[in-house]
Amino acid sequence: MEPRGVPPYLSDPAATRPSPNCPDRPADPAATLALRPFVITAGRVIGDDTRMGFETQVSALPGARPARLTPEANAIIAICQRPISVAEVSARLRLHFGVTKILIGDLHSAGHIIIHAVDDESPDPDTILRVIHGLRAIF
């Protein structure tokens, strides 16, 4: 998969956006994140990026301590300390799903986030059997 272009504020620590209006953690992340989808993605829209589905797992690279990023990027890295689905990142940060995919794609290109793509589109019988046995055992 061709990596997308890395926005300058992600690739170059020196080019970090000025921080006064852009603290690492907004006072009310939910309110801030929800309102600015097009600002957040610099006006880009989803391309044909099919790597990420709703359930696709993503995680921050351990040890990756990026230079100051946008509040959204920081929030994503913070929430991705354990593997988590793209849908859950979107829901918990109250970011539009499409916006979430773009931001995660950028963080992936910049080497901060792993996208755990699943090779096979449809799960194989053995995996489904494990889910069946697991569900029976859980409840």
Binding site: I46, T50, G53, F54, E55, T56, Q57, V58, S59, L61, P62, G63, A64, R65, R82, P83, S85, A87, E88, S90, A91, R92, H96, F97, G98, T100, I114, H116, V118, E121, S122, P123, D124, P125, D126, T127, I128, L129, R130, V131, I132, G134, L135, R136, I138, F139
Partner: protein
């Protein structure tokens, strides 16, 4: 061991590289089941009954066709709609996580489903026995998409307006598609409904690719 004095920065970099080698995280395989059905039929209730987290919502921009999927004429206008999707999850073990996505079932969302069902193992179509019409679009869609599914009739307060045979007849669905009664508020009942979907999914997957492991007998009535 040699210790070469170095700047904090270089030390940090070495340490990071070390961490990265040791702890590149492995993630569970996500298994996705779609929970479909008309408005107010109990989709969110179903997800919430079994999910280990209370249902979350993601809003996705989807292309939708403004005509029914039965009539996708060449002039069918497409538009973009924001759709709210509820989801929850059940951790099976460290390597497997089940995701349930509750999705609006109207036919104009057919295009959204194409993205949503990619990689899904199967679907539970929830029906209200008083409003069977509302689930036609879902059934039609999953049949065409060759997606394994079962129809779960949500027994609101234990009451079904029709018995299961009548419902099957009214829905005019294939003999081998399970129609079952369940209670969207009951965890075990939802679990059992999902197991029926998963058995359909297993049947479907075995047809494509035989079982490799020693996972025990499978009685799926294969031809």
């Amino acid at each position: 061991m040699d210790f070469v004095p170095s700047s904090d920065r270089a030390l940090a970099t070495t340490y990071d590289a070390h961490l990265m080698r040791r702890q590149t995280p492995s993630a569970p395989i996500p298994i996705k089941i779609i929970i479909a059905g008309g408005f107010g039929v109990g989709k969110t209730t179903t997800v919430g009954a079994i999910s280990e987290i209370s249902p979350l919502t993601t809003e996705a921009e989807m292309t939708s066709a403004s005509v029914g999927i039965d009539d996708p004429g060449p002039t069918s206008a497409k538009s973009t709609t924001t759709v709210a999707m509820d989801f929850g999850c059940v951790t099976i073990d460290q390597t497997l996580k089940l995701y349930l996505f509750g999705t609006p079932g109207q036919s104009r969302f057919a295009f959204m489903w194409d993205e949503l069902i990619r990689g899904a193992v199967g679907a539970l179509v929830i029906a209200d026995s008083n409003r069977l019409n509302d689930c036609y679009a879902s059934i039609d869609y999953f049949e065409r998409a060759d997606m394994p599914f079962a129809v779960g009739v949500n027994a609101f307060d234990g009451h079904l307006a029709h018995d299961l045979d009548e419902i099957r007849w009214a829905l005019a669905i294939n003999e081998n598609i399970p129609v079952l009664r369940f209670d969207a508020r009951d965890r075990v009942s939802v679990r059992d409904a999902l197991l029926v979907v998963l058995e359909r999914a297993l049947d479907h997957a075995v047809r494509r690719k035989p079982i490799r492991g020693d996972a025990g007998p499978v009685h799926m009535g294969l031809p």
